[in-house]
Symmetry: C2
């Protein structure tokens, strides 16, 4: 801990920030400017709440365009609502800034507002302070009691699904964000044509939260989670929490995944099998929905995908035991060292 206080911002800087981020609340009774904002969920609705903190160098690179940073900061929060099947209502933004740079703030606000408008979401409040760059968003959605998609609802026998973009040219395929990061880092052996890198970079910097799919999966999916730390790692949360609910001794559920069925972009398909498997199964920053549903609801899942304009792919099946098994093209079990990362502990 340093003894030096953070450099104070000038008062004009606070005004600048307020100008970029103060907009009238359209869906909520009271927005920015009082001690509290007021949110009015529809009668009888529960409120789904999620909070994410983004730190430079850890969650985004210092070279990111401010508009994309704004998009991503909100997208990762919307993705949590999507994984709950909640309808977006409002969010707050707390911001620590080393200095108030007009270009940076204007871009950040543009990225936030554009995505918020697409999801009919009010920025209702927040806080600004001088300090090392840090964005903390808290997001609110509404969901009928009992309808939230939880990590704990999967059962042995359920089919395992993952979402994907509809078009091959659409950015945001599973694993592409990780591939972009590795290319950016200059990892040896990765070959990506220059023009293709821009699309990869979009996957990393502009993820598309699957809000419409989350809503469409209410009453269909038995569990859901968004893929932020890598598919296998996030899946462990579902297997453990669901197992604790339904297994005789609370042991985690197992899963068999067919690696060949994992959806991937044409660009990913040009990589070596090892790179593909690591990016697809342990990539992170994907923000696709990973969810389970009873086999009897197979067609309802497909319909939910169509209704929400989102691709959905069945990639495996949950089991009562046997741990996490990924089967490769040759029918052999793949080594999946990433699944056992401590990071993935529930």
């Amino acid at each position: 801990m340093t003894q030096r206080p953070a450099a104070p911002m000038s008062l004009g800087e606070f005004d600048l920030i307020a100008r970029h981020f103060t907009r009238p609340a359209r869906r909520n009774p009271l927005g920015v400017g009082d001690d509290c904002a007021l949110i009015a969920p529809a009668p009888g609705m529960q409120l789904a709440v999620s909070s994410d903190m983004l730190v430079e160098g850890r969650h985004f690179l210092s070279t990111v365009a401010p508009e994309r940073l704004g998009h991503k900061a909100l997208a990762v929060n919307l993705s949590d609502l999507a994984a709950c099947g909640a309808k977006p209502l409002a969010y707050t933004l707390a911001l620590a800034l080393p200095r108030a740079d007009d270009t940076f703030l204007a871009g950040l606000a543009r990225g936030l507002h554009a995505l918020a408008d697409r999801h009919d979401l009010d920025l209702v409040g927040g806080d600004t302070t001088a300090g090392p760059l840090n964005l903390c968003l808290t997001i609110f959605g509404e969901v009928p009691p009992g309808a939230a998609l939880l990590r704990s609802g999967a059962r042995a026998g359920d089919e395992l699904w993952v979402s994907h973009p509809l078009g091959e040219d659409e950015p945001g395929w599973l694993g592409d964000a990780r591939l972009a990061l590795e290319v950016f880092r200059g990892t040896v052996g990765l070959r990506v044509p220059g023009e293709a890198f821009d699309r990869l970079r979009l996957a990393m910097e502009c993820p598309e939260p699957r809000v419409a799919l989350g809503l469409a999966l209410r009453g269909v999916a038995t569990s859901a989670i968004d893929v932020s730390d890598g598919l296998l790692g996030d899946l462990q949360h579902v297997l453990r929490r669901s197992g604790a609910q339904c297994q005789p001794h609370g042991q985690p559920l197992g899963v068999v995944i067919d690696a060949d069925t994992l959806p991937r972009s044409p660009l990913m398909s040009t990589q070596t099998e090892a790179v593909q498997h690591e990016c697809l199964l342990a990539g992170g920053d994907d923000y696709e929905l990973l969810f389970t549903a009873a086999p009897a609801d197979h067609d309802r899942v497909r319909e939910a995908g169509q209704r929400s304009g989102t691709g959905v792919r069945r990639i495996g099946r949950l089991t009562a035991s046997g741990g996490t098994v990924v089967v490769g093209r040759d029918g052999q079990r793949l080594a999946t060292p990433w699944a056992s990362f401590d990071h993935f502990a529930a």
Copy 2:
């Protein structure tokens, strides 16, 4: 912006953090551990939301005891609910830490949990990341539609009130937090006996949010704000926002304050008049409620104070015009350079 990534935390460190902060939700349907938490406001209630970000060196000193830091981080958020007249329900905690130190985290959690328990408040979720020390809390309370105390409801003729502790020995009198900070900074000319400093320091580090008073003032006060940036400065928000609602051309309301009536601790009374005035009128970090009520409701305000075990003192009267006037002991108008700080711009 630095190019270097924040030092990553080890996975054991994340576990450590989870251990200190994961407790079952008691009042809310779903707490820590899923993509979202679920909050169920009572039917028909609106949700009051506030978010505050605390940065080391700006909002707290690096020497603060972790338990007190936990208390203060939650107290400043509870104070926002109090100023709205909202009943506390739940909060989220997002935390950036340079490293996970067990003693620090245990203390922080103790301070948070103790104050949360007193207000029947669940920690329902949040986020943890490696990065420069930063705490971002978002708090949720419930309030019946139309009952929230806003900054915009004051009218010319209203009496101006401020809250204070009941006992002379109780910590947390107006201005004491600022006095503590100045003593801490070694500001020349300040004389405070050693044993008295501990009580001053409590005012700065352990503010008592006036939640019960805020609830008791529903339907009684016409406006309210909590004093965090200094009494005169925070008052300007009320005068401007209320004036915009009720004045012919939206000009701010005026106010006449009798400096002699400002509540103060015995220790404050031993300071020079200049120090007293600056600490009382422009101190900051007070977290008392500053509120207005119609003169006809004078006795109802007193009753609200009694019912909530909080001192309330009438300190002035709102006017249709005339700006901010503070009258001193000799009946002369005091100079109040602090009132015009740009920082206080609405």
